[in-house]
């Protein structure tokens, strides 16, 4: 890891209040996460629904208050800033949302949507029409699109408009929440290629949040796997994919059906569903689903083991190509 982080997240926690009068309580959506993103680097957050990846992204973007930890962006603590002080930061860090069409205001034209960042930040002295043209060209849309409304766009086109909005003010970091969600296979490549081109040309850093591991494999330099609001494993994408050390990572990777009918599926079946955040398991939180779990795992939470190339939270990291001890008849509960 080079030491030029643009974003530094340290021990961040996000808690949500639950329950009404009498039994007020809180759950941790993000339960202590640390990572760094370097300039020009693509960092992927992977996990299933409820793993806290979107909450974490929103916390980094200041849309969600954090209850502990710190977030440093371009050498400035941003987690304590009030909205006014946060505004200039928002020029440098933009976010793309899951729903390509739903994240565009339905009664605004593409031209207005693309130039909205300039209006919000009161940037004068630029011809907004020219800017709209420049941005639409940059993301590969015909300039005639500027008078269209979001409902007249296909998913891929709407996503391109989203990208144009995200890069309008030349940010240093883009946070993309499921950038390929809702897109057809033949179109998702276009969007990923576009993001990648822009990353190279503009030197952007990116945080990509997704559940699609195949996508991560191709676009991310480093990958972190989240489970119940914590990182269970993080490292160079190539290495995490070729030799997962955490059983959850291994299970996720093996759960990815591949478009090859003759592929023999040597699958690691998880014997249970994701536990509720209201009742986090004791010890290692993955032990209720882990095929390798031993008695120690049920009461002793594993330390996060940090080396130069890998972060791993497991008592018994897997050797490359490890198979579950004996695959029990999968009983879902």
């Amino acid at each position: 890891m080079s030491s030029d982080p643009i974003l530094k997240v340290e021990d961040v926690q996000v808690s949500f209040p639950v329950g009404g009068f009498g039994r007020r309580n809180s759950i941790l959506g993000v339960a202590g996460v640390s990572f760094e993103v370097n300039r020009g680097e693509t960092f992927a957050l992977v996990g299933e629904s409820g793993s806290g990846k979107t909450t974490l992204a929103r916390a980094v973007n200041g849309l969600q208050e954090i209850s502990a930890g710190s977030i440093t962006f371009e050498d400035q603590r941003i987690d304590e800033l009030d909205p006014r002080a946060m505004k200039p930061v928002r020029k440098r860090m933009s976010m793309m949302f899951q729903d390509p069409v739903g994240s565009l205001s339905p009664r605004m034209t593409v031209g207005d949507l693309v130039t909205e960042p300039f209006r919000i930040h009161g940037i004068e002295g630029r011809n907004l029409r020219d800017e709209a043209e420049r941005l639409l060209t940059l993301v590969g849309l015909p300039t005639s699109f500027d008078s269209r409304f979001p409902h007249q766009l296909s998913g891929g086109q709407a996503r391109r408009v989203g990208v144009a909005r995200a890069i309008a003010l030349d940010p240093a970091l883009i946070i993309a929440d499921e950038p390929t969600a809702g897109l057809d296979v033949s179109v998702q490549g276009e969007v990923l290629n576009l993001l990648n081109d822009l990353r190279e040309r503009l030197g952007l850093a990116m945080v990509i949040i997704t559940h699609n591991l195949h996508v991560v494999h191709h676009v991310a330099d480093r990958t972190a796997v989240m489970y119940l609001g914590r990182f269970v494993e993080a490292g160079e994408t190539e290495e995490v994919f070729s030799a997962p050390q955490h059983p959850y990572t291994a299970a996720l990777l093996s759960a990815n059906p591949e478009p090859d009918p003759d592929k023999t599926h040597d699958r690691i079946t998880l014997p249970a569903e994701v536990p509720s955040l209201l009742a986090r398991p004791s010890g290692c939180e993955f032990h209720t689903r882990c095929p390798w779990a031993q008695s120690q795992c049920s009461f002793d939470a594993p330390e996060r083991h940090v080396t130069d190339e890998r972060v791993i939270a497991c008592h018994f990291p897997l050797a490359p190509g490890a198979r579950p001890p004996e695959q029990k008849e999968s009983v879902l509960s």
């Binding site: 973007n61 200041g62 849309l63 909205p83 946060m86 505004k87 928002r90 020029k91 933009s94 976010m95 949302f97 899951q98 729903d99 739903g102 994240s103 565009l104 205001s105 339905p106 009664r107 605004m108 909205e116 960042p117 919000i120 930040h121 909005r165």
Partner: protein, 280 residues
């Protein structure tokens, strides 16, 4: 131009909508060109001509003071439409502002405003009218204040509910993440998306407002004589129904025509543009 024609064509395709549009235009025409359509002064008393039936001279006859009823009906239409349009517009503006604040603002403010809206709604209209007239004296302003107080809570609640729904939508979150101020989010991202259904509902309230104006003037709580109002014409008609039925007819028919016209038009607007609102 085509943008403007499309909705009108859609309305005309519905028989009731076409009828409604025709009636409304008819009433507006009468009110706007009142001075051209008759040379009589609606307030000029002419005791020698009292209780005349319709004739070429007095198209609808005259009332107990010999005033020309046709002129009074046309000018009364001006009052009715003026009250309806101005007070509905004022209600819309106040309702939208309050609704946006309640929906987008902090939770405690929302709770407080909901309490206020409910309290206002629970007042019977007639009681409210009587109380206000006692305070202000009978006048056109009193009528409009009553209308605003009666309709604002409903409008505000509709806007509030929709604002709350949109507050967490992705495009609003996206605007927040770009650093947009609350004022900008409300103006650019929320208002344009909540205003449509409300305007349609408000257009359906216009006949109600005309009814309130006529009713209050009938009771002597509204427009002060000798200013013509359909309600006061109707009242004159009832007092003198033994002498002639013409006065009551002249006061009643325009109310019916206008109410039906706006109701048909409003319902067609709703069905054509926002079928989800059906049955409200």
């Amino acid at each position: 131009m085509a943008e403007l024609w499309r909705p009108i064509r859609k309305i005309l395709r519905e028989p009731l909508g076409a009828l409604g549009l025709f009636l409304v235009l008819f009433v507006i025409f009468g009110a706007v060109f009142a001075d051209l359509l008759t040379s009589w002064d609606p307030t000029k008393i002419n005791p020698r001509d009292r209780f005349q039936g319709p004739s070429a001279n007095h198209l609808m006859g005259t009332d107990q003071l010999g005033r020309d009823l046709f002129a009074r009906v046309l000018h009364g239409g001006r009052i009715a439409l003026f009250v309806a349009l101005v007070s509905t517009a004022v209600s819309l503006v106040i309702g939208i502002v309050l609704g946006l604040i309640a929906g987008y603002g902090p939770r405690w403010l929302d709770n407080l405003m909901i309490l206020l809206f409910d309290a206002m709604k629970s007042f019977p209209t007639v009681m409210l009218a009587l109380a206000l007239v006692t305070l202000m004296g009978p006048s056109l302003t009193a009528v409009m204040v009553v209308v605003v107080l009666v309709t604002v809570p409903g409008y505000a609640r509709i806007i509030r509910t929709q604002t709350i729904a949109l507050k967490t939508s992705e495009y609003v979150t996206a605007a927040q993440s770009m650093g947009a101020s609350s004022a900008r989010i409300l103006r650019v991202h929320i208002l344009p998306n909540v205003i449509g259904p409300l305007v349609i509902l408000a257009s359906m309230d216009i006949p109600v407002v005309i009814g309130i104006e006529a009713g209050m003037s009938f009771l002597g709580l509204g427009v002060r004589p000798p200013t013509p109002s359909w309600g006061s014409i109707l009242n004159d008609g009832f007092t003198n129904i033994r002498d002639t039925a013409w006065i009551a007819i002249a006061g009643g028919v325009p109310i019916i025509i206008t109410t039906l016209g706006f109701t048909f038009l409003g319902e067609t607007l709703r069905d054509v543009f926002d079928p989800r609102l059906k049955g409200r």
